[in-house]
């Protein structure tokens, strides 16, 4: 991997569903360790863009590069293995498995232990240790043996993030990480995001402008599938077009 190259780049990215052009000619460049926020009104195409970057959707046109390497032909799993982690706006967890198992699955893949067929999963020292450490870091160690489905939503969201972090990503795409979490519990998640290692480039989608402005070094504004503006937070805050697109709203509930 080229250390000087941007962590994640998208060039001339486009995607249509039938006659509807959802993403048009999007350019994006994330430097190593950058904190970028992606904002835009509902329906702007933010989640679609994340899906294109993560490999869940194939673009109609354009290329995506990670650390200088062209990952456009890579399938979703290959991109994950190359260091691209993502979370989902609506939790995508292994609902009937325990918290430990949820995170272990990701760690095992990353470490290469998932292929092992004849050793008990819990006898694999490295994945077990890393999973335990990750659970402790995120403060959900006490729930390790609880089935995810039975946890309060805020904790499920933490598991969601833990799974992405388990991949030791170089690039992390967070799709509204605090969405649906009661305000009392969302603080934990936001602190977690603020404390993410500095060598990971993070692209965050969120509607809460306080969070966005505190977190982001740069903000990209997406509207109707196109990049409307991009720049440091204060520039974006002053941008009249951005204000117009948001109709003056500063914070979503």
């Amino acid at each position: 991997m080229n250390a000087a190259a941007p962590s994640l780049e998208a060039h001339a990215l486009a995607k249509s569903f039938g006659a509807l052009a959802v993403i048009q000619n999007v350019e994006l460049s994330l430097a190593a360790g950058e904190r970028r926020a992606l904002i835009g009104p509902n329906g702007a195409g933010k989640t679609t863009l994340i899906n294109l970057l993560a490999g869940r959707l194939r673009p109609d046109a354009g290329t995506i590069r990670m650390g200088g390497i062209d990952i456009t032909p890579f399938a979703e799993a290959e991109r994950a293995r190359s260091g691209l982690g993502r979370t989902f706006q609506i939790n995508s967890l292994f609902r009937n498995l325990t918290v430990f198992e949820n995170v272990y699955l990701a760690v095992a893949e990353q470490v290469g232990a998932a292929r092992h067929m004849l050793r008990p999963a819990l006898a694999e020292e490295e994945p077990v240790a890393r999973t335990a450490a990750l659970l402790r870091e995120l403060g959900i160690a006490a729930h390790a043996r609880s089935v995810v489905q039975q946890l309060p939503y805020g904790h499920q969201r933490l598991v969601e993030i833990a799974i992405a972090l388990a991949l030791k990503p170089k690039v992390l795409l967070l799709d509204e990480p605090a969405a649906g979490v009661p305000t009392g519990e969302s603080g934990v998640i936001l602190e977690l995001i603020a404390a993410l290692p500095k060598d990971i480039a993070v692209l965050l989608i969120d509607h809460d402008m306080d969070v966005v402005f505190r977190f982001a070094e740069r903000i990209t504004v997406l509207a109707q599938g196109m990049i409307l503006a991009e720049g440091p937070p204060d520039e974006i805050a002053r941008d009249a077009r951005v204000r117009e697109v948001y109709l003056g709203k500063r914070k979503h509930g």
Binding site: L105, R119, L122, E125
Partner: protein
């Protein structure tokens, strides 16, 4: 913090790993088998059948219960194993263990090739492909009667004594312990598999295949590996059948058999490792008692049972037992 203590003492020695998580009651099925051998000598041939079918159903559980793939064609691999073992024996290769090993390899090969195609599809197309595999193989066997005996089946299978000492006879004693040993070894392997990181990833694939892709799991490859293993074990069951009954019927490759073994597994419960151990004896013993006069009657009630299970008793007997157990614990 105490929740994590559970994970802080991983087993290190080989024996510790083999016995990891094994609970005392798990010795029961094996003890029961041996006790049954001595208590009901007249039933020993049927017990032998039960053991072989349990192996077959166990292999099916890997595909259905652990990979989450609906298959109506698992008999294809059973039949491949049976015919391979039979044909080898007819042409002179009658040492049972190596014969069975080769039959397993054949079944694994067929499983790999067909699985490669079947696993590329999703939903009901997968079901159709599994059905197409077994129907195709059935037709091939049917039309190559010169070798397979066609409709009449393959006869003249004469096996040498197991390990040079234990002859197959009409009492079925050797067959019983031979099948028991094969089932035991296979079960140990399957149990290890299910509790391994590989087995856990299969659980993950069954639970949320999308997320498995997102964490970098090579889903197709994983499933194909599991499918091939399942095919190999099914082939072993088929080989055992050919060796112990000295006969291979065309039915070994049929949809009927695929359906039967699926029902056996469903009765016991899928994805719980022991479903086969419960469903198979129940099915076979019930069939022995109830189906002798009128096979049509049997299929009628089997069909009703399936419909009832789907509508009201998902998860089979093991799930029912689990629910009752949970209720007792919460009442206590």
């Amino acid at each position: 913090m105490s929740a994590l203590e559970h994970f802080s003492a991983p087993p290190r020695s080989l024996l510790a790993r083999l016995l990891y998580g094994v609970r005392p009651w798990e010795a029961l099925p094996w003890l029961a088998a041996i006790v049954a051998f001595f208590l009901f000598p007249g039933y020993v041939p049927i017990f032998g059948q039960i053991l072989i079918m349990t192996l077959f159903a166990l292999s099916l559980d890997i595909v259905v219960g652990y990979c989450g793939i609906v298959t109506l064609g698992h008999a294809a691999y059973y039949g491949t194993g049976a015919y391979t073992a039979g044909l080898l024996a007819v042409h002179g290769w009658s040492e049972p263990i190596s014969n069975a090993a080769f039959a397993m390899a054949m079944a694994a090969l067929v499983g790999f090739v067909t699985g490669a195609v079947i696993l590329r599809a999703h939903g009901f197309i997968t079901v159709m492909l599994t059905l197409a595999v077994t129907v195709t193989l059935y037709e091939v066997a049917n039309h190559t009667g010169r070798w397979t005996g066609g409709d009449d089946g393959l006869r003249g299978i004469d096996m040498a004594p197991v390990l040079g000492r234990f002859e197959f006879d009409i009492y079925g004693d050797t067959a019983f312990f031979y099948a028991l040993a094969a089932l035991f070894l296979s079960f140990v392997v399957v149990r290890l598999l299910v509790n391994s990181p590989f087995g856990w990833s299969l659980k993950g694939i069954r639970e949320n295949i999308g997320r498995m892709h997102a964490i970098g799991c090579p889903v197709y490859r994983r499933l194909l590996q599991a499918y091939t293993i399942a095919a190999a074990l099914a082939g072993l069951a088929g080989a055992l059948q050919a060796q112990t009954t000295q006969y291979v019927a065309l039915r070994a490759l049929s949809f009927d058999l695929s359906g039967d073994v699926l029902v056996m597994l469903i009765i016991g419960g899928i994805g719980r490792l022991y479903g086969a151990f419960i469903g198979v004896p129940v099915y076979i013993l019930a069939q022995d008692r109830l189906a002798s006069e009128d096979p049509a009657n049997w299929y009628f009630w089997m069909g009703i049972l399936l419909i009832v299970i789907v509508l009201f008793a998902r998860g089979g007997m093991l799930a029912l037992a689990a629910r009752l157990w949970d209720r007792r614990r919460s009442d206590a």
